[in-house]
Symmetry: C2
Subunit: 334 residues, 2 copies
């Protein structure tokens, strides 16, 4: 079935079911000029939006509709996680080339709705339109959090310990397969591709960090560890010193890089789209946070460096030499 | 200057100035994973989002950057107006082909910022990315309003009087010039093109209608009067009877249609993108609303028909015959 058989409003009717997962503060959902929801008095609304464009962010042929829908929402939920907020409502704008099949679109919304359900997030509104050649998905997500516990980028302090909540670089390794149009064969290769296509937003980790009272600043790794840490450093007017041997690399990534002669640490620094959280923590509270986090999540949080007063971006290599870190992450216009 | 000369973060720095017009409830603006703002306890957040794609919604060559930026925001503000809410914050996602000049982008943001300023709206965040061929702009806007005064589509009642807040059809006439790549020459032609390119969102009118207590339902005319009234009728489970001679046509539209042998009433019914408001009003309060509105705005609100129990979509012609109204507005996938 093709889109022109059901029309714009037929399409909206088709995507409406299973869009709401928590109706407590919903006043009006899909079907009016705008969606309406309320919040309690002492809380803040957090809003993030991400635009995904075919041939820039994804290759339709190398990604199922389900994966595309899942990831479009996941990257936004990751931003909400990085603020230490609770995600609530998603708003999906979609620009659709006329030859797109309804079945593919259904899969996009199925991926989005399955992830939304996991985190009790509603799909509350959006916009549907046509597009000449490229499929376009813009998702905006709102969340709530208390003003004094939300986590920002510009509040890192000299002496803070830098932590991250998961492995870095896997997503870039997975992307290699997609860019080369190669099918992953071995199990570890499949896991790397999945790390790229179906990243898990660290919502629970973000809330945990926000409520710990120990975290000074936080960001999600979307552009690459080096770039994202530079965002924190630049906006906080500080520098950082990373410790190469402490940067967490998955066995999968190490095996992949060994087999192909790549540097796993380069993948971790410049990778991007890992969607783990990087945060800076009060040094007096770092040890307790480490212990408590590990107990809560049954896996470690990784201590990867320190915030410095001097505005340099450095990494201590395994041989104890210091090297300058250059921004190697993704710049859309470079 | 071209985009690759300044990079993604250079571009964000460039668009940040003059983005805030009312900082009272802003906690965090452009520059973090998400924007943060608060609202008072008794109010609702309203959120709308619209996606504009080159070659679908606009032809770059027939529109200045200023007009494109202005209109991208205006169509969203119009949705907020149709809810009877106060617009507060805008979030702009932009997908930019690599050959786009910085100067053109600056003009887009100038148009957006000038309109934002008029209504004390902040540009609070967004996303910037590249696009392969088409320029893409998604704007999301939040507003606030009280739960019991906001205006919806599905609350029209049998017997309601249908009003609209301005002329219909001008925008479609203006679009004719653009689609034919014809320059408007006469003053009235220029005004028609401007009605299409720089529509005024009826924010004050929407607030007035919401606060009147007389209005049962409201929508903005984006798809065309017939289509938009059908949205109200369908979702309210009622019908409508329009009165042809009462539908407000500008002198400019009448002159244009006379000169070209078109039907002005067809332009008004099927036009779309007029961005005036259509509302349905308690018949006992219609006369007072008419009088008060005219006094407040120094121009009339137009009484164009009645909501009917019978679920038919009809129009009384000038010769008193009744005709069926078919949805003639814009369906993106038709």
């Amino acid at each position: 079935m093709n889109l022109k058989d059901i029309g714009e409003f037929g399409f909206i009717k088709r995507i409406t079911p299973d869009s709401l997962n928590d109706t407590r503060n919903v006043v009006r959902a899909i079907g009016d000029d705008a969606a309406v929801f309320t919040i309690g008095n002492d809380e803040c609304i957090v809003l993030t939006t991400d635009l995904l464009v075919e041939r820039v962010h994804f290759i339709k042929e190398s990604m199922t509709g389900y994966q595309l829908g899942y990831k479009s929402l996941a990257v936004n939920l990751s931003d909400i996680a990085a603020m230490g907020a609770v995600p609530q409502h998603a708003f999906v704008s979609i620009g659709i080339p006329k030859d797109t099949s309804i079945e593919y679109l259904d899969e996009i919304y199925r991926g989005m709705k399955e992830l939304a359900k996991q985190y009790h997030v509603n799909i509350l509104g959006g916009d549907t339109t046509s597009s000449k050649v490229d499929l376009i998905i813009n998702v905006a997500v709102t969340g709530v959090g208390k003003k004094n516990t939300l986590l920002y980028r510009n509040t890192a302090k000299d002496g803070d310990i830098i932590f991250c909540t998961g492995f870095l670089g896997d997503s870039k390794a997975g992307l290699d397969f997609i860019l080369k149009s190669e099918q992953p064969v071995k199990d570890y290769e499949k896991r790397l591709v999945e790390a790229h296509l179906l990243p898990r937003p660290h919502i629970k980790e973000g809330l945990y960090l926000a409520n710990s009272g120990a975290v000074h600043s936080c960001i999600d790794v979307s552009d690459g560890l080096s770039s994202d840490l530079m965002h924190i450093a630049e906006e906080s007017n500080v520098g950082f010193l990373l410790n190469e041997e402490a940067i967490p690399l998955s066995k999968d990534l190490v095996q992949y890089c060994n087999e192909h002669g790549y540097s796993a640490i380069d993948y971790a620094l410049a990778g991007g789209e890992d969607y783990v959280l990087v945060c800076t923590v009060d040094p007096a509270q770092a040890q307790k946070l480490e212990k408590d986090f590990t107990k809560s999540f049954q896996r470690p949080i990784y201590r990867i460096g320190t915030i410095t007063k001097e505005k340099k971006y450095l990494m201590k290599k395994d041989d104890n030499t210091l090297i300058d870190i250059k921004p190697k992450g993704w710049d859309h216009f470079a």
